[in-house]
Symmetry: C2
Subunit: 259 residues, 2 copies
DNA sequence: CGCGTGGTTGACACGGATCAATCGTGGTGG
DNA sequence: CCACCACGATTGATCCGTGTCAACCACGCG
């Protein structure tokens, strides 16, 4: 075989690879309230809410630390609370009888975990499981609604969060209808590019998840993803070394993505 | 040829067909305030808002009557207002240079027209055109936000509307990834079934749009839709007469839809 | 050392897209 | 009133992108 894409093989000894398995979560909350403020700032977006408001939100929060693999959200169980993924990685998808777990979208770091379902009163449309050890914050909807009456300035950021979701899902649906797998994957790569200094056409992407989970997000099979990786690297657009993809020709990638 | 699916042919004389072209909008607003109340009730969902609140909303509204074909929403133009489609049909999609218009989702009757974009401050992610003559209500976001501060009880229904959008788009994306065209179309049919009295397994669906627009919503080509129609009617699940589809075996259709 | 897991590769099948031809309808102008 | 034309729908032939199935490799763990 020649230059094998298979990360595993290519690197040979001393694997520098990101392991496909769960990472560990270290404790870092010394108790700083500044951390909480930063968290909510990033969750609620632009109009950084007033400190007092954040404190009121914090008062409603129940924090839970859960091990990797935990079921965070279930279609069986009504969603009485807004959930925030404070730390760690999680995936939205479906747990089924026979199959292992069918991921459909994955989340990392501080982000909302299904900010929509709770407002609808019923059960969530998807299940969610923790990919790593996670810290989850729960806000009872009823209490948030009460808070909303006292602090109407909370409404705008919440609406903003949902609007972003809508926007995101709209483009996901659009792409699924009109773009082929290569274009969707190129798009996906571009989204998580980290720029390389002094090389505008290059960038690096580190895959944080198993490739099969990435494939699931893109709506393709792991086999197809593997072929895409090989295909793009044959064209010289990327170089693959295990769980690290270095983009060589960003603008060509962009051209494919918008095809 | 035998029993031709082609509505056009099948009916022969005296076409009872729904024309694929635009309908007309009759004036019916005598000025009754009850109408406005009903409109907002259906737009804002369950927690029927207080009358006073509706009046305040109404005060912000600018109503516009526009002819079929109007561009209601453009990616070029920033969304400063929340738009409501009070009457008529419209489609969300994309206007492009060469192509005519690429519909992606269609709306009827009283419904929100892109309730998300306005909250994001930028430009909408899609264009929208009027399929029939329409009446559009515009609410300046800035003013709604101000109203939101005075009347915090408005927040819950607005959040509810967006959450529903999220829910809907989530299942659209899911279906595009995991269901084939036949299942998606069966699903679509079931969604708009009108029950037939004394026949639990039957129902009627009237197509209000051109078949090619239905195909676009489903993410398939008109050719494929045509084949699906024929295919399902050969199986005896439906009967097609022009723009009227009568469902013969609802539960079988459901089985296909959830495949 | 053997086994389980995740990834890669090849052969093959199939669902839909694409291309092209035909038909029915409704509108238009002579 | 009829010939003509544009448009939408339908149908058939063919092509291409992906899924499926199966074999194999590489690594990590007990």
């Amino acid at each position: 075989m020649d230059t094998n894409i298979a990360s595993n093989a290519a690197v040979g000894r001393r694997t520098v690879l990101r392991p496909p398995r769960q990472r560990f979560v270290g404790a870092d909350e010394g108790g700083a309230n500044g951390a909480a403020r930063a968290l909510w700032g990033s969750l609620l977006g632009l109009p950084v809410p007033a400190a007092a408001l954040i404190d009121e939100l914090q008062a409603l929060v129940t924090a839970r630390d859960l091990p990797a693999g935990s079921l965070l959200l279930s279609r069986q169980r009504p969603a009485h609370e807004l959930l925030v993924l404070a730390q760690g990685d999680a995936a939205l998808g479906f747990v089924q009888e026979g199959a292992p777990f069918q991921p459909e979208r994955s989340l990392q770091g501080p982000d909302w975990l299904d900010p929509a379902s709770a407002w609808l009163g019923g059960t969530p449309a998807q299940d969610a499981i923790a990919l790593s050890d996670v810290r989850v914050l729960a806000l009872p909807v009823a209490e948030v609604q009460a808070l909303l009456l006292r602090r109407p300035e909370l409404a705008a950021p919440l609406l903003h969060v949902l609007a972003q979701q809508v926007r995101q899902l709209t483009t996901v649906a659009h792409d699924l209808m009109h773009k082929d797998a290569e274009a969707r994957f190129s798009d996906w790569l571009i989204q998580r590019c980290v720029a390389v200094p002094d090389a505008p056409e290059q960038a690096v992407v580190t895959l944080h998840e198993r490739k099969r989970d990435i494939a699931a997000q893109l709506g393709i099979t792991p086999e197809t993803l593997s072929r895409l990786l090989r295909q793009l690297s044959r064209k010289g657009l990327i170089e693959v070394r295990g769980y690290t993809v270095s983009v060589q020709d960003l603008s060509a990638l962009r051209a494919i993505a918008s095809a």
